[in-house]
Symmetry: C2
Subunit: 83 residues, 2 copies
């Protein structure tokens, strides 16, 4: 079966997030004074072939730890969206 | 009130996604032969101060069209997560 999977890879708490900090510094100049705590990560959407939703999830979690994210500095969240 | 907002910025259909293509080419070499159609985007999490959830959403949608995304080549999806 085909599954559509979404992975969110974001910097761990305490790890510097320069892209987020840059956005945060720029927002007030554009009139957005009420926003803060900006953090930027990656989102990866892919399709996998697996026997079940659980299999698809564990396959993509394996991909994350080996390749799609750096588990030392990044958290990844795998979500199986649909068949 | 404070709202936690998540924005997913992803390349529009038909727009080249070199990061996704590179991941897709690399996966078989790592043993992941059942994955395909990989697309990579950005996810931005931020906190905003607004009167209501709808206000928070429209504020962040305004940010997206002016600053956080390039509407010509990217779609953005705003989701207000919680107060």
């Amino acid at each position: 079966m085909h599954f559509e999977v979404k992975v969110e890879v974001s910097p761990r708490e305490g790890i510097a997030n320069p892209e987020g900090s840059t956005i945060e510094r720029a927002l007030p100049a554009l009139g957005f004074v009420t926003a803060g705590n900006v953090r930027v990560g990656k989102v990866i959407r892919l399709q996998v072939e697996a026997d079940s939703s659980d299999d698809a999830k564990s396959l993509v979690e394996d991909m994350c730890s080996r390749f799609l994210s750096n588990p030392v500095i990044e958290d990844s969240l795998v979500e199986v969206l649909e068949e």
